[in-house]
């Protein structure tokens, strides 16, 4: 369970990207985050994933405040998440397989074992044949699927995906939704930001809307 309490992020400017947000996300939920451009969706994801520190308020997971983890604990906290986020793009100089292996290698999984799991993950997203290519040689849809493989390969409890279907055509977008639905069915909490609600209508269990950094709608 992820709980945001009075969560606020003020960037220098000052820009109030997120203001006094209260939000509780139960484990296993498929949550859709909507809102206009600049509403604060990405900011919320960064705060939850421990990539930014809140200006006020707190994020806690299973009642443990993330702010109190410190520099030593933060990396381990981040490993609970699978990220499809522009802060964590695929590395262009490493092959698809090496990119997907990163969360496992970072966690100290032996190489052989790691690449066996990578092969399975790539198979599930339909990229088994592209393992040894560099990401820039892949199409947009293929890159997005590789990113999803990297996000789930270490079996995280939460996947955070920021506009995973942006810039994809209908077929590719639906393929991504199908994949995310499958991983959700396996028990993973899904937090997805999108501008295309209709696409996720059949899978989302809850939908929140942000506007100017505030929570303005929350429907289950």
């Amino acid at each position: 369970m992820i709980r945001c309490e009075k969560l606020a992020k003020i960037y220098p400017g000052p820009v109030a990207a997120l203001v006094d947000l209260d939000l509780t996300i139960p484990a296993g939920q498929f949550l859709l985050v909507c809102g206009h451009s600049g509403a604060g969706k990405t900011t919320l994801f960064r705060l939850i994933a421990g990539l930014e520190t809140p200006t006020h308020g707190s994020v806690s997971v299973n009642e443990h405040d993330v702010a109190r983890l410190g520099r030593g604990g933060l990396p381990y906290y981040r490993r609970r998440f699978g990220l499809v986020l522009s802060d964590a793009p695929l590395l262009p100089q490493r092959t698809v397989a090496e990119n997907v292996a990163l969360p496992l290698l970072i966690a100290g999984v032996p190489r052989r074992q790691a690449f066996e799991r990578v092969a399975l993950a790539l198979e599930r997203v339909g990229l088994a044949g592209r393992a040894h290519e560099l990401p820039p040689t892949l199409s947009g849809g293929e890159q997005q699927r590789a990113a999803i493989a990297r996000a789930v390969v270490h079996r995280p409890s939460v996947v955070i995906a920021d506009e995973p279907t942006a810039q994809l055509d209908r077929d590719n977008a639906e393929e991504v939704v199908r994949l995310l639905r499958a991983f959700h069915a396996a028990g993973v909490t899904m937090i997805i930001a999108t501008h295309d609600e209709a696409l996720f209508a059949s899978v989302a269990q809850r939908r929140i809307v942000l506007a100017n950094g505030r929570l303005v709608e929350d429907t289950w």
Binding site: P75, R78, R79, A88, L102, G108
Partner: protein, 300 residues
């Protein structure tokens, strides 16, 4: 877990090699700068040590003056002289009979006073010149002589010892100052080289961090990089030094021959190579460590 650790190290080593190979020209230039910083003070130290050895020995050879006890007779004294002549650490021994010493003393200002004495007050003596002139060798020989039966006192020409000490001290200080100075320069250079690598890899590092990599994991390839870069510089530095020494040895030997000095080989080559390679690797790791610490402190 243990296997994971080893694999992590080999993987990081592989990444470090990739980094080194990615910009071979930069690697070559940095290596050359570092190698020069290592080889130059080493060459100076080599010349300094050789020159100290020359001047420590020649014209200022240490003399140990040994006075026999008045109670022993001439034959016993000569037997002692003979025994020391055969000692392997002794270059030569000159026996100074008491008559000769007296004759020499009579020619000085003290002569008149001495003439009034009824007996020759001087003992038989010998001067001993050791084979090796290092202060500790001389001191050791002095102790052995003093322990001998029939010997009253042992005097070392202290001016000589101080001269050699002074020369050695000055030489050591110059070499140490140079080495420290160049080590600092080397540290700065590796710091800079790693810094450039870190800046170039900034995006990759932020991705790794977002995926949960610790500072230790992120820094590992760069520590290896520093180590490899330093090691490489140490090897090239040793080669440069070896080349310089090989080139300089014939003229120095010729000089030595012309002045009747000893050969010019103050310390063996393997020692210098070992020191240079070790210094290179250690300074490389240190430079990487400083760079990484600063980088991590600046980024959260």
């Amino acid at each position: 877990m243990k296997r994971g650790w080893w694999e992590g190290q080999t993987e990081a080593l592989g990444r470090a090699l990739t980094l080194l190979g990615r910009a071979p020209l930069v690697t070559a230039v940095v290596t050359l700068v570092l190698a020069t910083a290592l080889a130059l003070p080493a060459t100076m130290a080599w010349i300094g040590a050789g020159v100290t050895q020359w001047f420590g020995g020649q014209g200022t050879e240490p003399q140990i003056t040994v006075f026999f006890q008045q109670t022993i007779d001439r034959e016993e004294a000569l037997a002692i002289v003979q025994r020391w002549r055969e000692d392997e650490v002794v270059a030569r021994v000159v026996f100074v009979p008491r008559e000769a010493a007296l004759a020499r003393l009579l020619q000085t200002d003290l002569g008149e006073a001495i003439e009034t004495l009824p007996d020759n007050p001087l003992p038989d003596a010998m001067t001993v010149v050791p084979r090796r002139f290092a202060p500790q060798d001389v001191a050791q020989l002095q102790q052995r002589l003093a322990a001998e039966a029939g010997i009253e006192t042992v005097q070392v020409d202290t001016a000589w010892v101080e001269r050699v000490h002074g020369l050695a001290r000055a030489g050591t200080m110059v070499a140490a100052a140079l080495a420290a100075w160049f080590a600092l320069g080397m540290l700065a250079q590796t710091y800079l080289a790693i810094r450039l690598q870190l800046v170039a890899a900034a995006q990759e590092i932020s991705v790794l961090r977002a995926l949960g990599a610790t500072d230790g994991y992120i820094g590992r390839p760069f520590r290896w990089f520093g180590w490899l870069q330093g090691l490489l510089a140490g090897c090239v530095g040793a080669a440069l030094w070896g080349g310089l020494v090989a080139w300089l040895t014939p003229p120095f030997d010729e000089l030595a021959r012309l002045y009747g000095l000893g050969g010019f080989l103050p310390f063996p080559a393997w020692m210098a190579v070992l020191v240079l390679v070790t210094a290179g690797a250690v300074l490389g790791v240190l430079g990487a460590e400083i760079s990484l610490r600063q980088f991590f402190r600046a980024s959260t």
